[in-house]
């Protein structure tokens, strides 16, 4: 039997690692991947609490999170391709205006 707090600690560590990727990396692609990592760490929390409370709703929310993430990634990569076509760069410190 694994204590729930172990899952919470793992999720916190993964969340901070993903946050480091979002805040410190220069490439937009890596920033997006780090966002995926953060979302997954939150999903671990949901499933761990659902398991601890014997409640299936944690899993249901996790399924919805995964579906929304798939939609988000499709739109984000579309924006990224359009961005590269218009600005010819993928570095976050050069993408400082919203106007395409």
């Amino acid at each position: 039997m694994i204590p729930t707090s172990w899952y919470l600690i793992l999720a916190a560590v993964l969340f901070v690692i993903g946050g480091a990727g979002v805040l410190l990396r220069r490439n937009v692609l890596i920033v997006l991947m780090s966002l995926e990592l953060m979302l997954n760490s939150v999903t671990i929390n949901l499933v761990a609490f659902g398991h601890a409370l014997q409640d299936l709703r944690g899993e249901i929310i996790a399924i919805f999170v995964i579906a929304i993430t798939a939609a988000e990634v499709a739109v984000a990569l579309g924006i990224l391709v359009a961005l590269l076509r218009n600005n010819h760069t993928l570095e976050v410190d050069e993408l400082t205006v919203l106007k395409g």
Partner: protein, 183 residues
């Protein structure tokens, strides 16, 4: 035995997660993220959620990460090899991260009170099956399920519109103009 598995899986997941952030080549980052997501899927099995583990591998590893790899290979990433991190001292980012980490550590240390609130929970003898999950999903959560499908459709259309090049628009406009002139 379970705890040994947990320690193995979480150690590999944390190592792969670090590699995502540290790796020089975006393709290495993507492959490390795939490894990390597979470990998390195995953790879902440990948590008694095998359906979620399968979904995780299908959707994340099968669809999302393949899309990422496809885009990375489509774009030119050669010049990214020089600068990994933001060039000017990323001090504010590091400070925000340290605050976030401290806050999470504080909350985890305080979680004894949380456990007291949560209580042991009603212990059911058997694990909830996939049938239970589907009943809950298609009865109580039917409306959110349908809304999620609409969101997927919107994302599909949005991605097509965003990734469409202006040249295609111009060509279509030209084609219309020539057709109009011919008439």
């Amino acid at each position: 035995m379970e705890q040994a598995f947990f320690i193995l899986l979480s150690a590999v997941a944390v190592g792969a997660g670090l590699l995502v952030v540290i790796a020089r080549n975006p393709i290495h980052s993507a492959l490390a993220l795939v490894a990390c997501l597979v470990q998390i899927a195995a953790l879902y099995v440990l948590l008694g959620a095998p359906f979620l583990a399968v979904i995780q591998i299908f959707v994340y590893v099968g669809a999302v990460m393949v899309l990422f790899l496809f885009v990375i290979m489509m774009l030119d990433v050669r010049k990214e090899a020089q600068a990994r991190f933001l060039p000017r001292a990323p001090l504010p980012g590091v400070i925000v991260l340290l605050i976030l980490a401290g806050e999470l550590i504080f909350l985890l240390l305080q979680s004894a009170r949380l456990h007291a609130v949560m209580g042991p929970g009603p212990r059911v003898a058997e694990q909830p099956s996939v049938a239970d999950l589907s009943l809950l999903l298609f009865q109580e959560y039917l409306l959110p399920f349908e809304v999620a499908s609409v969101i997927l459709l919107v994302a599909l259309i949005g991605a097509v519109v965003l990734a469409r090049s202006d040249e295609a628009d111009e060509k279509a406009a030209q084609g219309k103009a020539t057709r109009g002139a011919a008439r």
